[in-house]
Amino acid sequence: MHPRRLLFLLLLVLPAATVAQTQNLYFAASADRQTFGVANSEFTTYVGALSIGYWVMAGVGVELEVGTGLSDDTINTLDLSVTSMLAVNLRLESPPLDDVSAYVLFGASAMALDSGFRDVANSSDDHAFTGIRGAIGLSLKLTPQLRLDGGFTRHQYDDEIGVNSFRFGVRWVMEPTGLGELQ
């Protein structure tokens, strides 16, 4: 992983920790396997993401999510990597059944990519996209505060670029008996 990106992730953790005592907050760390569809081609990359959420009412949360690419991919001579990702989500989560809840996310996201041709000097170029996203998934309660999340996300940035993403991560709920805990 690029040292700059690691630093980026660490810097995101610090402000999150400062507000960690606030009720109704939750935090998550996840890894996404993202497959980009561009011009009838695909490239796949892993994206690490951190998010902070707030239960505005029972089973309804709003989230801010940031992330960066953990791996690169290549289409022939073109190297592609995700430099950063930013998203806001609305989370709708069902009451747990045998410690398993279902959730859906709706939101918007921005993604920055870098592309460069091998053996071509100064061919690196940045690309930024904004679009909408939707996700479905399941959440397993491991402890009163710790959740294991897994799900699928579809990002649509424009007619040309769509991203399918499989997510696996953990979520820490600050107040287990708070608004997020539907009964």
């Binding site: 561009v38 011009a39 009838n40 081609s41 707030y54 505005v56 709003v62 801010l64 289409i75 022939n76 001579t77 073109l78 930013l86 998203a87 806001v88 939101g107 918007a108 996201s109 921005a110 990519l113 592309s115 041709f117 071509v120 061919s123 170029d125 690309h127 930024a128 996209f129 904004t130 679009g131 940035y157 424009d158 007619d159 040309e160 670029i161």
Partner: protein, 409 residues
């Protein structure tokens, strides 16, 4: 927190222009996938009339050949002065006022540019000419259209801009919209008038197609036709008044006939004429016609690719199933060739029943439903399929049997 969320959402959505960046990334992927190292702009003219449109194409390729892959719809187009002329996402330039504009086509890191002059001078006359006013039957001739603008002030080559036509009653040939601009393809002897038209102005010149075709020849292609593969057939013409022979593949009319149902197809439209694609094994006849003459060539699909295996789907020697009500089971037979490709020959096989213990199991050998087993009760049936490879001299059929047992639950 809510206000913060709304603010962040607005920030995200206004952060950047997704469409432009998406297009640029797409062009880069196209360059990488195609292995392109160079692009070149191709235009029908470098001078255009105000109010008119001009298609500019961006062709991509590698260093080993002249760029030929049309990537106009993927490229990013720019006009140096959109007051003089605009350019669309697909490379269509629209002239607005008098002036010169630079049109740039970009495909990832590759780019080319061309200067286009927009002129309001009006077209007053079209002069049509050719170096081949007298041509051999079934041959082609190129025509050029020069436009006279602003009185006699300017003469421009507008070959690629005019609409070409030939006097229809003569039936001596055609101009194809998919063909090279100004290329006339003859198909019969006779005299005709070639006309170029633009903006209501026309220009004409006569053409004569000689009645001199003596023979059409269809050489046997080097490539062997096999199922699911295509082979290009070519036609050449000889003439009564010379020893010259010329290719007339794209001027001839092609047809394919076969006793084998669904044998295959032959392309009879430009830009690919004479391309035979076989779907099944067997024999057929390819015919090329032009100038009142026809020539045929017998073709075989699969003749040199020897059949090395004959097998069923479902595979194996037996099938056992529980009877759960009336149903059907489609048995299919396939041949595998030397090159390991396979072809479904269910409809080419002869399906028979070797033995059966029940009248509840029946097998079809009727065209369209060959190999279809109808199951109306329990029992055992042994089905046999024979396949004779018509493309070889082998008379011993390929044979496979399979036992189907349907038992009561």
């Amino acid at each position: 927190m809510r206000a913060l969320t709304v603010a962040l959402l607005a920030m995200v959505l206004s952060a950047c222009d997704a469409g432009r960046d998406g297009r640029e990334l797409e062009t880069r992927v196209v360059v990488a996938r195609g292995g392109y190292t160079t692009v070149a702009i191709n235009t029908e003219a470098q001078v255009m009339e105000t109010g008119s449109q001009l298609q500019v194409r961006l062709l991509a390729g590698d260093d080993s050949a002249i760029p030929s892959e049309n990537v106009s719809d993927t490229a990013i187009w720019r006009s140096s002065n959109s007051a003089v002329a605009t350019v669309s996402d697909s490379g269509i330039v629209t002239g607005l006022t008098d002036g010169t504009v630079r049109i740039v086509g970009e495909l990832g890191p590759l780019r080319d540019e061309v200067d286009i002059r927009v002129s309001s001078a009006e077209l007053s006359e079209i002069r049509v000419s050719t170096d081949n006013a007298l041509i051999n039957e079934c041959s082609s001739a190129s025509f050029t259209a020069m436009g006279v603008y602003g009185g006699d002030a300017e003469l421009r080559n507008i070959t690629g801009l005019v609409d070409w036509s030939v006097s229809a009653a003569s039936g001596v040939g055609v101009f194809s919209s998919t063909d090279t601009d100004g290329l006339f393809r003859s198909s019969n002897a006779g005299a005709a008038t070639v006309t170029a038209a633009r903006n209501g102005v026309t220009g004409s010149t006569p053409v004569t197609v000689l009645d001199n075709l003596s023979q059409i020849t269809l050489p046997v292609p080097a490539d062997q036709l096999t199922p699911s593969k295509s082979v290009q057939y070519l036609a050449t013409a000889a003439f009564t008044d010379s020893e010259e022979t010329i290719g007339i593949t794209n001027n001839a009319t092609w047809s394919l006939t076969s006793d084998v149902s669904g044998f295959g197809t032959i392309d009879n439209t430009l830009p690919v004429k004479g391309l035979v694609t076989a779907s099944r094994t067997g024999s057929a006849t390819v015919t090329a016609a032009c100038g009142g003459l026809t020539t045929s060539l017998a073709v075989l699909s699969g003749s040199s690719t020897e059949v090395v295996d004959f097998f069923f789907d479902p595979s194996g020697n037996s099938i056992r199933r529980v009877f759960v009500g009336a149903t059907t089971l489609q048995l299919r037979s396939f041949v595998r060739f030397e090159d390991r490709t396979a072809s479904d020959v269910t409809e080419d096989s002869i399906w028979t029943v070797s033995s059966t213990t029940s009248s509840s199991l029946t097998l079809s050998n009727l065209s369209g439903t060959k190999g279809l087993l109808t199951i109306q009760g329990a029992g055992t049936i042994t089905v046999q399929a024979d396949y004779i490879d018509d493309s070889t001299d082998i008379t011993v059929p390929y044979r496979r049997s399979i036992e189907v047992e349907i038992f009561s639950p």
